[in-house]
């Protein structure tokens, strides 16, 4: 009985291959039941995201199963094996468990600590549970992967700091203002990054949105998008008096806001704090403005630096996370070995054999003159009885059921087997 992982991700396969092998919608349902029907596979779950496709399996024969799954993938996705085989990675047992835990804890993600993967893994698990394609081993494995990921999240700061420009802008705003919901925001100019950052601010509760654009019509369009209002460029300075957060990204070749202007604005708004984010290149806001009290001006490089520092911070936290994962992997392996019922089955057999031999010996002693044929018949009878008696307990012990651990304890007690195989 071993755990296997077969998969590919953004590091090993380009998007072409990932697309070809993805299990989307209907394909997931068909794929999972197709794989489940393969006789070598006991339990199965499939994780399919835009960055990775992974197949989690519990099987008896690991080598054989790997080959069978690869054949299945080739057949199912109608793609030649040699086209994707070199992009696959495979792990078994300890390495497989570690891999799944690391994936769940977002240690294997493109952006370390990103939170989506855990949700995707939960979906994978729920889907498999629904389709009844998993059993004791994978169920436990998935649960532990999720709880490990949660431990990593609470015990390290792996997911705490923003690692994209737009999130970093929101994060900074939250360190200046108490809550964003009551704040007014101005999008000055346009541009993909500026709009994305604006979107994040709106998602974080900013309500009063103004859009200022050189071309008023374009401004109106954008304003509609954000549920805000367009303002004329000439009114910019007046509007800034009542604006708390500004994202600036105009194509202007010079400053649209000078220090003197900002000084006047600050006086008029009675020095209420302002957060200015100037992501335009060349810069559109006079950098000296940052010297004014209660004005916080960040340009694109400043924010990029915040992002870089945060990424570095995440890498440091990842080391702590790896330790947590390692501990959980060990625990899981311990649990797996506790499920190993072979020693108990052997003990039962030995015990039965011993009883049989003892009784046969007594019998032979009692009837020393019995002819060979009859003696053999009696021996045969004794074997048949012992074998039949231990058959069903052995079968029950071999099965992986939810209450297997309890069952093993009970069997030990019932048959008077000492726990010498136990680790403790």
């Amino acid at each position: 009985m071993s755990i296997l992982v077969l998969g590919l991700n953004h590091k090993t396969a380009n998007v072409d291959i990932r697309e070809r092998l993805a299990f989307n919608g209907q394909k997931l349902e068909e794929g999972i039941s197709g794989l489940k029907n393969l006789p070598v596979i006991d339990e199965i779950a499939i994780l399919s995201t835009c960055n990775r496709v992974e197949i989690y399996v519990s099987a008896k024969d690991s080598e054989n199963s790997m080959e069978t799954i690869k054949d299945f993938l080739s057949r199912f996705h109608s793609i030649n094996r040699d086209k994707f085989e070199k992009t696959l990675y495979s792990f078994s047992d300890t390495d497989a468990i570690r891999h799944i835990f690391r994936v769940a804890a977002s240690l294997d993600s493109m952006i370390i600590g990103e939170p989506q993967i855990l949700g995707q893994l939960k979906d994978t698990f729920d889907f498999a549970l629904n389709k009844k394609t998993t059993g004791v081993i994978l169920n436990r494995l998935m649960k532990k992967a999720i709880s490990t990921a949660k431990r990593v999240r609470t015990e390290t700061r792996i997911a705490e700091n923003a690692v994209s420009i737009s999130f970093a802008a929101v994060e900074l705003a939250k360190k200046i203002f108490k809550e964003l919901s009551g704040k007014s925001f101005m999008l000055l100019g346009a541009g993909e990054m500026a709009e994305l950052a604006a979107r994040h601010l709106v998602n974080n509760g900013v309500k009063d949105v103004r859009v200022a654009n050189r071309t008023y019509d374009r401004g109106c369009e954008l304003a509609k998008d954000f549920n805000g209002r367009a303002i004329r460029f000439e009114d910019l300075l007046q509007e800034l008096v009542s604006t708390d957060i500004v994202i600036c990204s105009t194509g202007a070749s010079d400053y649209v806001l000078s220090k003197q202007q900002m000084q006047r604005i600050m006086k008029e708004r009675r020095h209420k704090p302002v957060f200015l984010i100037d992501i335009s290149v060349p810069r559109n806001i006079d950098p000296d403005i940052n010297e004014l009290d209660n004005v916080y001006l960040y340009n694109i490089d400043d924010i990029q630096e915040v992002v870089d520092t945060n990424l570095l911070e995440r890498k440091k936290e990842a080391e702590k996370a790896e330790k947590i994962v390692e501990g959980e992997v060990e625990k899981f392996i311990k649990w797996m070995s506790s499920l190993n019922s072979v020693p108990i089955i052997i003990s039962i057999r030995q015990k039965a054999e011993a009883v049989k031999e003892e009784e046969l010996e007594k019998f032979r002693h009692k009837f020393p003159n019995l002819d060979k044929e009859k003696l053999e018949a009696v021996e045969h009878l004794a074997s048949a009885i012992t074998n039949k008696l231990i058959h069903s307990p052995s079968v029950a012990l071999r099965e992986n059921s939810e209450d297997k651990e309890l069952l093993m304890i009970a069997v030990k007690k019932l048959y008077g087997i000492n726990g010498e195989d136990d680790e403790e």
């Binding site: 939250k174 360190k175 108490k178 020095h271 209420k272 704090p273 960040y298 520092t309």
Partner: protein
């Protein structure tokens, strides 16, 4: 008995201060909670100590520097606990407990015998005047601690070096708000303390104002805080300037408290 309790309370505050310092220099979850628990333990014993002293003396135990300083520290802890209950900031304790500990430590160096209240001062004014003064000053103490936090956070944001305490310090607006609130609490208390003092002085010493050093320094403190409030309301002096002023204000409080008693001759001296 009272002395042992005082020492144990001091030890708790010391432990809380150490936890606070650790919290400032290295990140670890759960430290704020530990600090709060240690402070609460210290506070319980501290309260007991004050009650015992009260019953022994028969009046508020604030005659003598030992008791007065201890009482001051006690009020700071009261306001800190209320603040933590309301805002749950966590890291704030790391900035307040050192103030508490230093006050308690200096309290422990002063002679501890209970000094009887001189007959002139035996009046209900005594409790009212002193409690108002201590409560007001305690609010100012915390305001200055929060002011320091504001300056730190402001510096992180301005310099764009977002390491260290940046993540754990609350946002600027909250810090500014707490600072302002504490001053709006402390200022009326101080004003009332001065008014009651003036009235009491008339009944005890026969004149309203004698330009006693303590009176003068209280007035200076009062003017500083009046200025803080005026500039904020009239000119929008908030944030950094308000934080700096609140720290200056507290320095004036400290001088009124220690400097006047120890360096200048005053009718208010506790010993």
């Amino acid at each position: 008995m009272g002395i042992i309790i005082f020492e144990i309370a001091l030890t708790f505050y010391f432990a809380a201060t150490i936890v606070g310092l650790i919290e400032i220099f290295r990140e670890s979850k759960g430290l704020s909670r530990l600090l709060l628990i240690l402070t609460a333990c210290g506070f319980a014993l501290h309260t007991l100590n004050i009650i015992i002293r009260y019953s022994v003396a028969g009046h508020l135990p604030i005659t003598g520097m030992h008791q007065a300083t201890s009482f001051f520290a006690w009020f700071i802890v009261v306001i800190f606990l209320l603040l933590e209950y309301r805002y749950k900031i966590g890291i704030v304790g790391a900035f307040i407990l050192p103030i508490v500990f230093v006050l308690m430590l200096s309290s422990s160096t002063f002679p501890r015998e209970i000094i009887p209240l001189s007959p002139v001062l035996q009046s209900y004014w005594f409790s009212i005047h002193t409690v108002l003064a201590f409560a007001g000053n305690a609010a100012f103490a915390i305001a200055s601690g929060v002011g320091i936090m504001y300056l730190l956070q402001e510096n992180y944001l301005k310099s764009k070096r977002l390491g260290g305490l940046f993540q754990r310090l609350p946002n600027l607006q909250v810090l500014d708000e707490i600072n302002y609130r504490l001053i709006t609490i402390g200022f009326p208390l101080l004003t009332l303390a001065i008014i009651t003092g003036v009235l009491w002085a008339e009944s005890a010493w026969g004149s309203y104002w004698r330009w006693d050093p303590k009176e003068v320094w209280s007035l200076i403190t009062w003017i500083i805080y009046a200025l803080v409030l005026h500039l904020r309301v009239a000119k929008g002096w908030r944030g950094k300037k308000a934080a700096i002023l609140s720290i200056i204000g507290f320095l004036s409080v400290l001088f009124t408290f220690f400097g006047v008693n120890l360096l200048l001759k005053s009718l208010h001296s506790f010993s």
